[in-house]
Assembly symmetry: C3
Homo-oligomer: 337 residues x 3
């Protein structure tokens, strides 16, 4: 429990209204009760502000001026909400212990206050930093190094030699360091190219559930600091992703591509291999990036949604687009003559 | 074994031909033997009807009129095939037992006739309804409630507090309730928003292999009744999916979007966040839905497939489409003047 | 360690320069040291050749003519690199042993020199060929047959009755033989169609991390010989894939589709069900294939990437494309009259 005044102090912010209101959790504007604090960041939820029963609302000064109730005043209500929510979430970290069924092979080094769940396997010479939690059914191969205060969720697999920074979260089912997709075509069939690099993940990164990051072919696949990957993403071998870049679910990045810092890559995006995307690029959902991008900004490529009946007619024309354009140019010429 | 006449009785249907033919399994028209029953639902397989060796075929009355052989007559041969196939599949359910390696923590409640496979972990206060099968390597976190007669396949992970209805099937590798992708951008980097909601799955739902359904940020992510999700799907936090909606593989639904009842969402579709799709909407494969849909019907968005050489020419023009359209309007004006 | 001359002999190739240079590993042109061998296959890396410190470089005769340093001469440097890299990778195969925690049920047959990792489960009557490695947390259901010299990585799940050839690699988290997505719509809801076929995988195939291959509905889902699937791919029930076909990550193939031999399917591609793609087809990344393809060659369908501002204007016109085309035809007619 925190009072509104205490919250304001802890966040170095001001408030309006009753500073003594007791708050115990965060909630949405629509469903908050009197002991809960809510927030308004997405304008499409403004309609719920007037009727909210929240004990307090996190608002900008401008929004607060039009609101009669208790408010915590922030330049960035969404960030403030994130910090306040973190305050209220009770620490769910289990008491640090190594489950008796866990298999710890020779040469493993484990820091203080590390938890290892049931049926997890740490192969030879794995090193785990202090305060890290490894849940159940985790497989960590030889020579992997994991930093401090990480959370390795259930069923994660980490292949040999990968290096994970501090405060990294690997969500359930993520696979770090599986073989890159490297094949050379000989006359009789495909020849597998050994994938001997690893994956190196910087501090404060997050890797979503069932996301896969392949190891490098020779050198490493690298995530910088504070890179955030959603679920079901595929990162190919030798990809390099810059600090603070965020990638939404189901996106695929092919091998040896380099993505800059502070990029926002939408969901279901495809990025081909061996290209370079500069810092500060936004790619809209489901776009396909086939060439390097040298200018920051927002990029899109998808055809717009249409009723299927209308789409069928337009799709026929899309196949004739070059002919149509040529005809227009001819008509123009004819008309000008 | 069932005779054709017995099958007709059990399905409350009529038949033509020899009611005494003994049938022991279902099979395709092309490969069926004399003791097998087949069906014709997809017109592209009509060519196999005349030559089939099936002991009987499930047909509409109209199709049966043109067929000399034994037939089970149904208004909906595909549905009848489904029920008949269920009859013939021998119950593969293992004898209910809890494997000695399973870890059952404090406060777990398990109904009658529950199976738990090797190396599965049920954390504190999990509740499992009667007749449910949990296979091997399953991880079920604190306070999860699972209904009756469910099948939780190998390697499924269910995060804290999720609620699963009755007769639900979770296929191998599915992840239920991993953290939603919630981040707020502060000056120094991304701040994680605690994801404290759960996933609530109604009765008779099916979740495909390696599909991920994120927990809600504050409130829950919800699947109604009889929702069927194929493999490799990503469902974001706070998504709500209505009863009987079916989603094909590799589709991604971003956070806080609401999908109505009886929708058919194709494979590889992307649906952005914070929108609403009404009941009875069909989305064709790989379409991107960027706005709410308020009218039932079928929607598409993908560019049509073309030989790459032709595609290259048309793609150049696609980038100039607005210019072309403007030029056409100018020509029209010029010509009318 | 091998000298350049020894390598040339082992690969039945010639070399130029100092045959006595000792080589211990492969490396990239950019980072190779004097005891490492590199290669040049992708022209975009030519810029690194002049400055490389590699002890030797694998080059075509033509490229070698312009290069002063040591070179291994090959008609196909990439294939030669693959074989040389295989030579240098030290065999990481663990000493064959069955971990004491592994669960081996009744009727399991295991060949010579088989490894089984911690917490893996081989259900009844599984058969594993000589020299196969099964890592940790693997679940293999009843009656599965696995050939010789396979590698089944951590967390793989194989469902009942599947058949895996020799020298097959299944990467972490792959799911082989989960239920196909078969549903028939009855008045009250969806009726599940039992999926009683299996998955049959030929020799020398590779299945990527978290890729899913569904079992057939009645007959089998089949991969031929030397089929290579990247990560996060979804293969529907009863799909048939021909020899030497390669599919990149995140592609989805819907049920009952047949893909020929020697096809190259890009990443993020969608292929609808019940169609046939002939031998020798290349599908570019993220294309959607909605009809059978009867001619070998390269096919594409995606809209080209554009700055979002420009894209918005063009997207409006894409919805009007049929109208634009009609107007152009009218103008042409008017002008010709």
């Amino acid at each position: 429990m925190k009072t509104l005044a205490e919250l304001a102090t802890s966040q170095q912010l001001t408030y309006q209204g009753n500073g003594e209101v007791a708050l115990t959790a965060v909630a949405t504007l629509e469903h908050a009760k009197g002991n809960e604090i809510s927030f308004l960041a997405n304008p499409s939820y403004t309609k719920f502000l007037a009727g909210t029963k929240a004990g307090a609302v996190i608002l900008t000064a401008k929004m607060a001026a039009d609101y009669e109730g208790n408010a915590l005043i922030s330049d960035n209500p969404y960030v403030t909400f994130a910090y306040v929510a973190q305050l209220f979430v009770k620490q769910q970290r289990p008491v640090a212990k190594i489950h008796p069924t866990a298999v710890i092979e020779a040469g493993v080094e484990v820091g203080e206050n590390v938890s290892i769940g049931a049926f997890s396997v740490l192969h030879q010479s794995v090193c785990v930093g202090a305060g890290t939690t490894i849940e159940s059914h985790v497989s960590i191969a030889d020579d992997v190094v994991i930093g401090e205060a990480c959370v390795i969720k259930s069923g994660v697999k980490i292949e040999p030699g990968c290096v994970i920074g501090d405060r990294v979260i690997l969500h359930p089912g993520a696979v770090i360091g599986a073989d890159g997709f490297g094949l050379a075509r000989d006359k009789s069939g495909w020849v597998k190219i050994p994938q001997t690099g690893a994956v190196v993940i910087g501090n404060d990164c997050e890797v979503g559930a069932n996301t896969t990051i392949d190891c490098g072919a020779i050198e490493h696949t690298v995530l910088g600091q504070d890179v955030r990957l959603d679920n079901q993403i595929q990162i190919g071998h030798n990809v390099i992703i810059g600090d603070h870049t965020v990638i939404a679910g189901c996106t695929a990045v092919a091998g040896s591509t380099e993505i800059g810092r502070n990029c926002l890559i939408g969901g279901g995006v495809g990025i081909v291999g061996h290209i370079k995307i500069c810092d500060g690029v936004t790619i809209q959902a489901m776009a396909l990036v086939t060439n390097s991008i040298k200018e920051p900004g927002s990029y899109s490529s998808v055809s717009p949604l249409q009723p299927t009946k209308q789409w069928r007619k337009n799709a026929v024309r899309a196949r004739q687009l070059d002919q149509i354009a040529r005809k227009v140019n001819q008509l123009e010429k004819k008309l000008n003559d």
